[in-house]
């Protein structure tokens, strides 16, 4: 199975990279941009075929290492 983890700074925590990209888009003439946020995507190949087990395991990975929950939120998608 494949787990796709997206990690982003929490709402309300200023995202300096997103802000810089937003400014760049503005100056390139893309005037309709309301907000840009930049995060990271982590793709994990899992040996298990049990989706529930995979979900639980990846959640633990996120809480332990992949995200710093003081400043970041994460989403998990299992395929």
């Amino acid at each position: 199975m494949t787990a796709v983890v997206n990690v982003f700074l929490k709402e309300g925590v200023l995202d300096p990279q997103g802000k810089a990209a937003h400014h760049a888009l503005d100056s390139l003439g893309f005037s309709g941009v309301a907000d840009v946020r930049i995060g990271k995507q982590i793709i994990i190949q899992l040996e298990t075929t049990d989706k529930t087990k995979a979900q639980a395991e990846v959640k633990e990975m996120c809480e332990t290492l992949l995200a710093n929950t003081v400043i970041e939120d994460y989403t998990i998608e299992i395929n």
Partner: protein, 223 residues
């Protein structure tokens, strides 16, 4: 005083830190990250600056799981004094030994320069040789020094006197350097035995090199 200086793959301020504490008359011992125990009879653990594990994923996020960090955590939980400088500060926040987190600098640049710092609280084992409101000139060199803590956390820090230093001008007024919440440059834990700061006091020991204000900071541990 006997000082343990940790070394991870990618640490690069280990020798500077040793030099600093030895210059102040202390003995030091480098401790490899794979060690599961700290040397006996130490008075202080320093987590020095650098780019542990290449700063991959997040600065400090992998180093915090190094075997030696278990020993550091139990040392700190038993009241032992721990100082994290720059990458060391990031490691200590990732390890949960210090509150908050350090994000990418607001301007996305690696900032390397001398910076004035205002001493906010000195009633602790670290800054007791400094005066409250005093302005110190200490080098900074970091890309991820943008300190973040939520409003509740910030109030707790302020109520408990845990804010150690703020980036300031020469008059001690806060200035924006990297986007840190209320310009915070250093904090301690609630029990005031774990300290972290982004600036490098170990690089400010000789006037000929720009500043000797670091001496007064590091002397505090021996007072």
């Amino acid at each position: 005083m006997k000082v343990a200086v940790l070394r991870f793959p990618g640490t690069n301020c280990d020798f500077d830190t040793q030099y600093a504490f030895e210059k102040l008359g202390h003995t030091t011992q480098l401790v490899w990250h794979e060690n599961t125990e700290l040397p006996a009879d130490i008075d202080l653990v320093v987590v020095p600056g650098g780019f542990s594990y290449g700063d991959y994923l997040r600065s400090g996020s992998i180093a915090r799981f190094a075997p030696v960090m278990k020993a550091v955590t139990s040392y700190a939980n038993n009241g032992g004094k721990v100082l994290g400088i720059c990458n060391g500060f990031q490691i200590l926040t990732e390890a949960g030994l210090l509150p908050g987190a350090l994000k990418r600098n607001n301007n996305l640049h690696f900032i390397s320069k001398h910076q004035n710092l205002c001493v906010i609280n000195n009633d602790n084992a670290f800054l007791n040789q400094c005066t409250k409101g005093e302005v110190l000139n200490i080098p900074i060199a970091h890309a991820d020094g943008n300190y973040y803590i939520d409003d509740t956390g910030l109030k707790n820090l302020e109520d408990n006197g845990q804010v150690l230093l703020r980036y300031s001008d020469t008059n001690g007024e806060p200035v924006v350097v990297n986007g840190s919440v209320t310009s915070i440059a250093g904090v301690c834990n609630e029990n005031k035995n774990v300290f972290g700061l982004m600036p490098h006091p170990e690089r400010a020991l000789e006037a000929i090199l720009g500043s000797e204000d670091g001496v007064r900071m590091l002397k505090g541990f021996d007072a």
